[in-house]
């Protein structure tokens, strides 16, 4: 069976939901960060799939989606670096990475 656009979209949606669950439900800041990375990559898959199966000129070298995915990977790497740095800084100060405990600015 040849993979179709639907297969990739379902994969992207499933990965996005897994990432969303992780980002929403986890207390650990690292786990949330991982959830967000999964969501970003789910979007990347969708982008590449749409680009590859574009109805104008299928299976072509029409590379908009791929380029976008590379941008997203770049930004995600930077984001992971900043986020991990913040999480380490918070851990040093508060000795925890539980987001429920990080509430100094709360009302």
């Amino acid at each position: 069976m040849h993979p179709t656009l639907t297969h990739f979209l379902v994969l992207g949606a499933v990965l996005f939901c897994i990432g969303l669950y992780g980002a929403l439900a986890k207390r650990n800041a690292i786990a949330i960060l991982m959830g967000i990375e999964i969501m970003l990559n789910a979007v990347n898959i969708t982008m590449v799939a749409f680009s590859f199966y574009n109805p104008v000129k299928p299976y072509s070298t029409f590379l908009t989606g791929q380029i976008f995915a590379i941008f997203i990977i770049t930004v995600a790497a930077a984001e992971a670096a900043v986020a991990l740095a913040m999480i380490i800084a918070i851990y040093r100060k508060r000795n925890t990475v539980d987001v429920g405990e990080i509430n100094l600015m709360k009302w």
Binding site: L20, A23, L24, A25, I32, V99, G100, N103, K106, W107
Partner: protein, 728 residues
């Protein structure tokens, strides 16, 4: 015409003295009193146990400053005296100017060169704005014959009352304040007199209400006296104000109906023949005009204390007696009569019905008040009911002249108003003299006639004055009331109002009875000289003395006026062009006159028989108490036919009940809605506050939930836009 053009100075003179006294000399008085207050108040304190009088004892006596009126404390500072002099001098100037206007307009003097025409002249006019819809709202003063006749009454009585008050109020706290109020009262009344339209008359109308409120409740610390059935002055003032408001509701609605149809407030325009006149505006719809005029008359019912709004006037006796004189003679109750006289052409345009209502209300009031006055024991209350009764006569005079003989105009009613002002002022000032002197003699406020008796031998001038005024009010031949009252009674007969004729005639007899009952019980007695008319046993304590000159001079002047006022026979044609004047010849040769005189003599004779040497108070009282029927009748009139109690009951249970229901509705439903909205919003805020918890994760729940919901909505919308749901 310059003489008339500047007559507005009469109007503003009392306002000037009010302002100067209240902001100037009164402050001076208060400032000087503050420094010296300690010593007289402390001195009064020492005497306090001796005369814990008229109800304000107890806690109040502990600090002597709360004693409003105390003969042992002189309250007159220089500032207070200057206040009085200022008020009197300004009023004297106004009074002289008024008399000059009267004499010039009647043609006795020739100062202006051209006497005032019947239509009068506008003396002041100010429009609120030039826009068309503001055109009817004009502040405008007008002087004509009717206004001048009233002007003379108001300024003369005010002058005498202010002069008299110097003596009467000398021991009263707030002497300066009293004079400022008197000036304000006069100004308010003059506003009514000068009014050229309904707006100005209504402003004056309400200001009279305010001034009477201030003056009736003048003694702010005096308490209620349940034993003598006398209310607290503050309550009496409140009652006067509120009862007047009830009448004013009708007055305002009446004015609004007139304005609705004619788009003008001006008396001359309303009475005129233009398209804005009531003749044209209400053509073919005189029923509505009749209703409007009866509603306007409602205002007069309230202001002039006619049945069914008569209850406030006797209670207004709680004010200082000079105020009673002013209210009863010139300023307050006369306003209603004057207003009807002023709007006479409008009543006339509405046909006879409105006038008949006026006449009948007047008749019922005259009879009712005379019956109640028969048994009152309070000296001032007898006079109060007699005023109510005499006001009834004035309305009868206006009503039957309008319904039966319109060519006479407002003449008969205004004639009685004119004469009554003088003799009623005299009666009240005499009563005030008696109360003042007894206050000094007994250190109590004695108003009960049973504690008087034989006063003529102590205060002969007061007694003679009271006697003269009583003769005048009874219609004793050749006194003022003889002409004015018998004119009204005779007119009732000649115009064919037979029932009104008999009732007013009977009332004349009752009037003579209660006036002489009061005179004999207070000034004479069973063992008095001159058939009991002079002196006798004094039933009170102490030795009363004759009043000071400030009191007796106005009495003497008014005694002259009591006789002289009746001889203005030209009044009818002075007020109304073409009216047939009274003539002395006709009056004394008319049989009807002598019937009236005979009835009055009958009343005087019965009073003399009951309370003079023949029987005496005790014996009459014993007979009445031993006879079931007489006892019942006595109680009935003593309790004012229980009308006051009925009103009390109505207020207490019906109106207050409605008020409580309305208050409960307000507290539960209205407040419930308002508070519900407020607490709902607060609760919502409390709930919503939880949403913003600072956790990015919970925001993400909202964000992604929203995205998901939006996705579903867009999906469904697209699906429907493409003609049905095809999922795959």
């Amino acid at each position: 015409m310059a003489l008339y053009q500047y007559s507005w100075t009469i109007l503003f003179a009392p306002l000037l003295s009010f302002v100067v006294i209240i902001f100037g000399t009164r402050m001076w008085d208060l400032a000087s009193r503050h420094r010296t207050a300690v010593s007289p108040a402390g001195a009064a304190h020492g005497h306090e146990d001796g005369h814990d009088h008229d109800g304000h004892g107890d806690g109040h006596a502990a600090h002597g400053l709360d004693d409003d009126d105390d003969p042992k404390v002189a309250r007159l500072s220089m500032g207070a005296r200057v206040s009085a002099y200022l008020g009197i001098i300004i009023m004297l100037a106004s009074c002289i100017y008024s008399w000059v206007l009267l004499l010039d307009s009647t043609g006795v003097l020739h100062i202006s060169g051209s006497p005032l025409s019947y239509s009068g002249t506008d003396v002041f006019s100010y429009n609120w704005g030039s826009a068309g819809f503001l055109a009817p709202y004009v502040i405008s003063f007008h002087v004509d014959h009717l206004a001048i006749a009233m002007l003379v009454v108001v300024t003369t009585i005010s002058l005498l009352v202010q002069f008299y008050s110097q003596g009467y109020m000398e021991n009263s706290a707030g002497f300066a304040r009293f004079f400022s109020y008197l000036s304000l009262f006069t100004f308010s009344m003059l506003l009514i007199v000068f009014a050229a339209n309904f707006l100005v008359i209504f402003v004056g109308w309400e200001m009279v209400g305010l001034s009477s409120y201030l003056l009736i409740g003048f003694w702010i610390n005096k308490r209620e006296k349940p034993v003598e059935d006398r209310p607290q002055p503050a309550m009496a003032a409140m009652q006067a104000f509120i009862v007047n408001r009830i009448g004013d509701v009708g007055f305002v609605i009446g004015i609004m109906i007139l304005f609705w149809k004619t788009n003008t407030f001006d008396f001359a325009t309303l009475g005129g023949s233009s398209s804005q006149g009531v003749h044209a505006a209400f053509a073919g719809n005189t029923t509505l005009l009749t209703i409007a005029m009866i509603l306007v008359f409602c205002g007069a019912i309230g202001k002039s204390a006619q049945v069914p709004l008569q209850i406030w006037l006797p209670n207004a006796m709680e004010g200082p007696t000079p105020v009673s004189a002013l209210i009863h003679a010139a300023t307050m109750v006369a306003a209603g009569v004057y207003m009807v006289a002023r709007t006479f052409p409008l009543f006339l345009a509405s046909g006879a019905t409105a006038f008949e209502v006026v006449a009948w209300i007047g008749t019922i009031t005259a009879l009712y008040a005379a019956l109640v006055a028969l048994t009152q024991t309070d000296f001032k209350r007898v006079l109060a009911y007699s005023t109510v009764s005499q006001l009834g006569y004035m309305f009868v005079g206006l009503g039957i002249a309008g319904a039966g003989d319109p060519s006479l105009g407002a003449g008969p009613g205004m004639f009685h108003l004119f004469t009554h002002a003088f003799f009623k002022a005299l009666l009240f000032l005499c009563a005030g003299s008696v109360i003042h002197n007894l206050h000094h003699a007994t250190h109590e406020e004695v108003q009960d006639m049973r504690k008087m008796g034989g006063l003529a031998k102590f205060m002969p001038i007061t007694a003679i004055a009271y006697f003269v005024a009583s003769l005048a009010i009874c219609g004793f031949p050749f006194f003022a009331g003889f002409y004015s009252k018998d004119t009204i009674i005779g007119l009732a007969h000649t115009t064919g109002f037979n029932i009104i004729y008999w009732l007013t005639l009977a009332t004349a007899g009752l009037t003579a009875f209660y006036m002489f009952r009061a005179y004999i019980v207070a000034f004479g007695g069973k063992d008095g000289k001159l058939f009991g008319f002079w002196g006798g046993t004094y039933r009170g304590v102490g030795t009363p003395k004759e009043a000071p000159l400030t009191i007796t001079i106005p009495l003497c002047l008014l005694m002259v006026a009591c006789v002289a006022a009746g001889y203005w026979f030209g009044l009818f044609s002075y007020l109304t062009p073409g009216a047939v004047d009274l003539s002395f010849q006709d009056i004394i040769t008319d049989g009807l006159t002598w019937i009236g005189v005979a009835v009055a003599f009958g009343g005087i004779f019965v009073a003399w028989l009951f309370y003079g040497p023949a029987l005496g108070w005790d014996k009459v009282n014993r007979v009445v108490e031993n006879n079931a029927v007489l006892r019942f009748l006595n109680r009935l009139t003593l309790h004012k036919f229980y009308l006051d109690d009925l009103y009390y009951w109505l207020t207490q249970y019906v109106f207050l009940g409605i008020a409580h229901i309305a208050a409960a509705f307000d507290a539960t439903v209205i407040d419930g809605i308002v508070n519900g909205v407020a607490s709902g919003v607060t609760g919502l805020g409390k709930g919503l506050r939880r949403v913003e918890d600072g956790k990015v994760q919970s925001y993400m729940y909202g964000f992604f939930g929203g995205v998901a919901a939006l996705a579903v909505v867009i999906f469904v919308l697209f699906a429907f836009a493409q003609g049905g749901v095809k999922l795959w």
